[in-house]
Structures are given as C-alpha cells and as structure tokens.
Amino acid sequence: MTTQLDRERGQDPRRAGSPEAVSGRGRGWAPAEHAARPPGVRARRSGAITSRRHGLRYVAVMALLGGLSLFFTLGILGYGNPMPFGSSGYWLIAQMRIKTLLIIGVVAFCQAMATVAFQTATNNRIITPSIMGFESLYIAIQTGAVFFFGIAGVTMLTGLPQFLMQAAAMVLFATILYSWLLSGKFSNIHIMLLVGVVIGGGLGSLSTFMQRVLTPSEFDVLTARLFGNIGNGRAEYLPYAIPIALLAGGVLWWRARRLNVVALGRNTADNLGVNHKREVMFILLLVSVLMAMSTSLVGPMTFLGFLVATLAYQFADTYSHRMLFPMAMLIGYTVLAGAFFIMRHVFYAEGAVTLIIELLGGIVFLIVLMRKGRL
C-alpha cells in the first residue's frame, strides 16, 4: 500500500496553500472529492479513510457482512418451517422467529458497542467488559437465587421488576467499582482492570461453590440459564431492552468524535481539551447499561464482544468510531445469526450458540491475527 501511495505522491504537486492542498469539506470521515482536480492527483486531506483502496475495502466488507446477515435472517425466518407457505400457521411461526431475530439484533448491538467503547475507554484491546466481572455477577445472582430458594428461585428472577432490578444491580456494581477505582488514589486503569478480574474470579468461585451443593435437578435448571441462550432468550423484556439499549448506544454514537480522542490515551486527550477522567467514567456507565441489557436477555456471551471488536478493528482499520461501531454491530449480527442458524438446523442444539461462537470465532480470530500480526 505504501508503494502505491508513493507512486501517487510522485505526481502530486502538493503545495501547501495551493487550492488543491485544501480539501473543500472535511466531513471527518467521508472522503472529500474534488471535481476539478486532475486525474491521478490526490488532494491533501485528513480523514478516517486513508486511501481509495481503504474506502473500497470498508464498503466491500460492509456489503459482504450485510449480505451474509440478510442471508441468515431469511434462513432463520423461512428455513424448515413445517407449515405450507402462505398459510396462517406459517406466518405465526415466522412471527415467533422474528422475536429471536430481535434478540440477536439487540445482543449484537449491545455487545459490539459496549466492547468497542470499553476498549477505547480503557485504552486496551484485550480486556472486555465480560472479563471485568460483569457476567460473573450475573452468574452469581442467578446461582444465588437457586441456591437459596431452590428451583422456585429461577421463577423469582423472572418478571419486569426483577429484570429492571437485575439490570440496575449490574449497573450499580459497575459504577461503584469504576468510580471507586478511577477517582481514588489509584487513578490507574491497569489497577482497575486487575481488581475487576480478581472480583470476577472471586464471584465465579463463589458461584461454582454454590453450584456444587445444588441438587442435580436444580443444577440442570440453573445450567439452562447460564448458557448464552438465544433460542430461549427472554423476549418479554424486549420492549424495555430495545429503547434502553438504543438510548445508550445513541449517546455513544453522538459522542463518537470524543471517543476518537479518548482512544489516544489520557495525556493526549487532556491536552486536546477532553476531560479524560470524566469522559471515561461516562463511557463506562453506558457500557455497563449495554452489558446489563445483553446479559439480562440471553445470559453470558463471554467471547462474542472480544471477537466482534477485534475483527472490526482488523477490517475497518481506522480510528473513527462512526466506522467501527456499524462494522462491529454487523459482524456481531452475522456471527450470532449464523451460529444460531447452524446450531438449529445442522446440529439441532440451538441452546448452545456460544459453543460455536467460541470454537469457530476463536479460529477465525487466530487466523486474522496471525495474518496481520497485530491487534
């Protein structure tokens, strides 16, 4: 790519101050076109897209992902419907499947936005909100309910007030953890991550301990809750989860340009007039809302966010969050819908969607990483 750029540069008069040197409208990330510029000459411009090839590749990947997600969407809706096409039974079944697709959409949206934003805020590309004790907390709440109240405990955790309570507990947990760690004398993101991992591990051990003393039938019921379960996701929460997720995601989108600066780290962000600490706290609050929505709907999805964010960085190859977010979401939707479709119609095991994500996703992730050699 560099050599190609060099070649193009050779023909470029590029003098500062000449009309060609100034791009007319820098939209930040849209390539500014010059109708009058002679062929083969690049205007000097800044933006999230570095070259024509880069832009084309982004569009091509988005189109491919769009096609794939459309394919899986139609597949999930129409494939293997036992009723004859057009009958009222057919449409009834299709309607039930739409709920599944909505859950997939919300989970992909939440996990993608939350993980990318979290990694931007913490300035790392390895640790995800899942690792920071989020899902351990969910598991501990669920296990605790069964441990203390038996199988009745599971039903105690269903219902709108319980959904909101559980989401609020997770957001509260995250906010207390973050504000304690970020405001006190620690003021260090690495210590926060370490404490998060330790708390996550501690909650995990607590859950494992409680699970050991459950009766087999209780344990069976609990296991069904703890697998990331798309097919049996709690669709009744959708009317509340969708607007909350859209609101949190919308705020992140609206602040995307600040996120670009936050990604440069504390010193650079502060130098550019962005209050890094305040901004990071706010991002992490939104992240915890998104994660609470996703986890309450389908349970833990440990690997999905990491996979989606990493692939989005690789394919988009840009700093711009307005380009990263849509790509991460589409990747998330494609992966989830594809995994659900395959598990349902090939292996008849739609409950265990996370299995295929972790297996295939892990392999894809390793291949991409080996080829590019960087995160």
Binding site: R25, R27, G28, T50, A263, L264, D270, V274
Partner: protein, 256 residues
Amino acid sequence: MISLTEVTKNYGSKGSADSVQIGPMTVEIAAGGITALVGPNGAGKSTILTMIGRLLGVDSGRIEVAGHDVVNSPSKTIAKILSILRQENHFVTRLTVRQLVGFGRFPHSKGRLTAEDERHISEAIDFLDLAELENRYLDQLSGGQRQRAYVAMVLAQNTDYVLLDEPLNNLDMQHAVQMMQQLRRAADELGRTVLIVLHDINFAAHYSDQILAMKDGVVAEHGPPEQIMRDAVLSRVFNTEVTVIDGPHGPLAVYY
C-alpha cells in the same frame, strides 16, 4: 506569560521519610522565544511542565498561562492556549501521520475538520518536513520521524504556548539538531512560546533564549544562557564538576 505562584506538589505521604516535595516554586516565564528547563534527575522539571500543562494537578499554589488560571479554567479553553507533549506516546489506535496531526485541530473543530483545519494540518506537516510521510502509518516510521509527527500535532493545535517534555529523547545527533532548529523556527517565525525540558545543557545553551535551572524541586537559576553557562553555576546545579569553554558556536559545558 506563564506565571507560577507558590506552586507545590507532594509525592508520597506527607511527613514520611520517603516523601518528596516539588516547590514551593514562584517564577515568571516571559512570552516569546524558547525557555529550557534543565536540572538533574528528580529536580521536578517534568512535574512542573506537566502541572503547567494541567495534566497533573497541583497540591497548592496558582498557575497562570496568558492570564488564564490553568487549574480552574475549562480544559477546552486551555487547549486553545497551550499544548503539551509528554515523553511517552503510544497509541492503541493505528494512525497515519496526517490523521495524528489532524487530531491537533480537535480543540478548534471538535473533530469536524474544515478547510481551515486542513490548511493548518498541511502547514504543520510541511513545517516539520513530513509531507513525504504524511500518509504513512506511525508504526512504519523511525523513532525520529515519529517524534516529529507528535510535535507536528501540537503545532497544528496552533496554541501560543507549546510545552515539550524531553522531545530529544532517543533522537540521534542529526535528528536532535533538526528538531531544535525546527523549534527555533517555530518560536521565531510562528511566534510560539516554547517551554522545553532538556537534558543536554549544551543544546539548551545554544538554542534557547532563557534557561530555567531547577534543583531539589525549586528554581536554582533563571536567566539567559550566558548567565547560566558558568563553571560555578553549572557545577552547583548538576552536582558535577563542569568546565565551560569557548566553543566555535558559543560556550560549551564539558563535564566528563
């Protein structure tokens, strides 16, 4: 003008044996030209610089840059008055030189680059001779080129005051001299006030207008290079036997 009044910063718990105090420091740094901050390790040079650049909070005292209270003014206001570059810069994001320099315009355009911003970016890039490299990614550059790109970013920010923390670190002779010449031009041609932490007293003496020598957290000497470049002064500041001789381009400190 940068003015510090009774500025202090404490490291470690107060009163304990290993606590270190920087300051109280009261000094006025005139606008225009290059002022070099020199002194032995641990004298508090970087601490003072980062406090002026509001990246580090002050424990007590007052810092004003061009009449603005750095500590209490909104960060985005200060970002149009002073820019600061620290020593270690590592970005998780992959950026081209031009994208990085473009971020320097954030205080003015909030990320929506206008034609005016693009002009500033191009000028900053040309000023540091980076035009050939502007579409390269930072990880494809040598250490010296990368350092120039960082400096181009703070110049594109177009602030009257530019604060640099040891920008010559890890640069070889050629690139260190080039960097100082470019900063000299930034002061002379663009009228920027440059405050710079330097380790090499000879670089400071040759390229700066004022030298602020620090020792044990307080100002040891402050004045033009000819006032600082004396055997007794340098030996006292640096705790080392220093002899100043007449070089072909001015006084030279010899200390080995």
